[in-house]
């Protein structure tokens, strides 16, 4: 299946601008929403440089804190996620230098994690990490297979192909409200099955 982080990031430009604007007006809660949105992608990027999972978490956290401190200098010349990824890349490289380890000589593509030489950096190769990833992917595949076709189509066109709701409505020949509802129901269905694996602290506390 196609990896389409570009489309998703572009689609999210408006909400990012709104959240950044709120942070710049003193709303720290808006920055929390940006962290929740991008932490997996930043974590993945950092894991291209650093193998150890706990170190990945530390560097990811540091990258977000640096981004918060640097937000006064963010003028919106580039997309927020591009700017954030640049900070994360530099933070990871600096971490390796400070730890006496050599950072990769070539830059990492922010959308694929690949280097200029065409190979990917370390990633989480630990047995635990691989098992957890495998399990999550297995559950997602299974959930998608069991899902009604119209829900699966709507969600995959949105997540994999980066289609807008308008475009999905055109392809599926249905009103945009139906698309909205189908994507939501598909997410609910997936979420229900994945919660035991990727539940957040707040959910664990609430359950």
């Amino acid at each position: 299946m196609a990896d389409a982080p570009n489309q998703r990031s572009n689609n999210s430009a408006n909400i990012d601008v709104e959240l950044v604007r709120r942070v710049q007006q003193g709303d720290k809660g808006a920055f929390d929403l940006l962290v929740r949105k991008y932490q997996q992608r930043v974590g993945k990027l950092v894991s291209r440089f650093i193998a150890d999972r706990s170190e990945v978490e530390d560097v990811t956290q540091e990258a977000f804190i640096k981004a918060y401190r640097a937000l006064p200098n963010f003028r919106g010349d580039s997309a927020f996620y591009t700017w954030l990824y640049r900070i994360a890349t530099n933070t990871a490289k600096n971490y390796l230098v400070a730890a006496g380890r050599r950072p990769p000589r070539s830059d990492v593509d922010i959308t694929t994690g690949a280097t200029e030489q065409g190979f990917e950096l370390e990633g989480d190769q630990s047995p635990e990490g691989e098992m957890a990833s495998e399990e999550i992917h297995r559950v997602i595949r299974q959930a998608l297979e069991q899902m009604p076709e119209e829900l699966r189509l709507a969600l995959t066109m949105c997540e994999f192909d980066g289609f807008s709701y308008d475009e999905i409505a055109e392809v599926m020949e249905c009103p945009i409200g139906t698309v909205r509802s189908r994507i939501f129901r598909a997410r609910q269905s997936l979420d229900k099955k994945l919660r035991p694996l990727i539940s957040t602290n707040e959910v664990e506390e609430a359950v």
Partner: protein, 206 residues
């Protein structure tokens, strides 16, 4: 109610909320459950998109970052985004104001000049508007300069016009009328737009 709220969060994840996006963000900031759904829906998408390469590490640093920036100074500075919406009505307001002032000034000037000319005709039926008798390009240029110019005239008319007291009285009456009108049109301080040609000796210019 809860379902509708979460459906709105789902739309916001895809940036498909349109005009109501800001109010959904407000709800997100207030409601922990919505915030949690926001995080999980994004993470679901991340996992789906990463099924091909499988190289994803699950991290959850939101609480740690939140606690860390709690001690940071609050950012407060004017928004200066290229992508931030620019207030178009405000820009239109400026241009409209400038255009309005320009039109008002033009209308006022034309009205004053017409009124002056009209009064001049009424009070000076025997003199009338002095015809411009162009003789040289330089004089043509001079004639264009003033809407009520007195340029080169015939010698007999000139003698009549410039003959002593009569001319002075008419000129004084005109200036008095101009000052009165200027006050009415809030154009005090403007010099009367008239130019008289002095042909030496007898003439009394301006």
């Amino acid at each position: 109610m809860k379902k509708a709220r979460l459906e709105q969060v789902s739309s916001l994840v895809d940036d498909e909320q349109g005009g109501s996006g800001k109010s959904v963000v407000d709800d997100l900031l207030k409601d922990a459950e919505s915030r949690d759904a926001w995080q999980r829906y994004h993470e679901l998408g991340d996992w789906m998109r990463n099924m091909a390469d499988g190289g994803m590490v699950r991290v959850d640093v939101a609480d740690r970052v939140s606690a860390a920036i709690e001690g940071e100074p609050t950012l407060l500075f004017p928004v200066n985004h290229r992508q931030a919406p620019i207030s178009r009505p405000s820009r239109r307001g400026w241009s409209q104001q400038l255009a309005g002032i320009g039109i008002a000034a033009a209308v006022a000037t034309v009205t004053v000049l017409l009124f002056q000319q009209h009064e001049f005709l009424e009070t000076e039926p025997d003199v009338g508007v002095v015809a411009i008798n162009e003789t040289t390009p330089a004089e043509k240029e001079k004639a264009v300069l003033g809407p009520a110019s007195l340029a080169k005239v015939d010698a007999s008319e000139e003698d009549e016009l410039l003959s002593g007291e009569l001319f002075q009285q008419k000129l004084d009456a005109y200036l008095a009328s101009h000052v009165k009108q200027s006050a009415g049109y809030r154009a005090q301080g403007l010099l009367p737009n008239i130019r008289a040609v002095d042909h030496g000796g007898t003439g009394k210019g301006n």
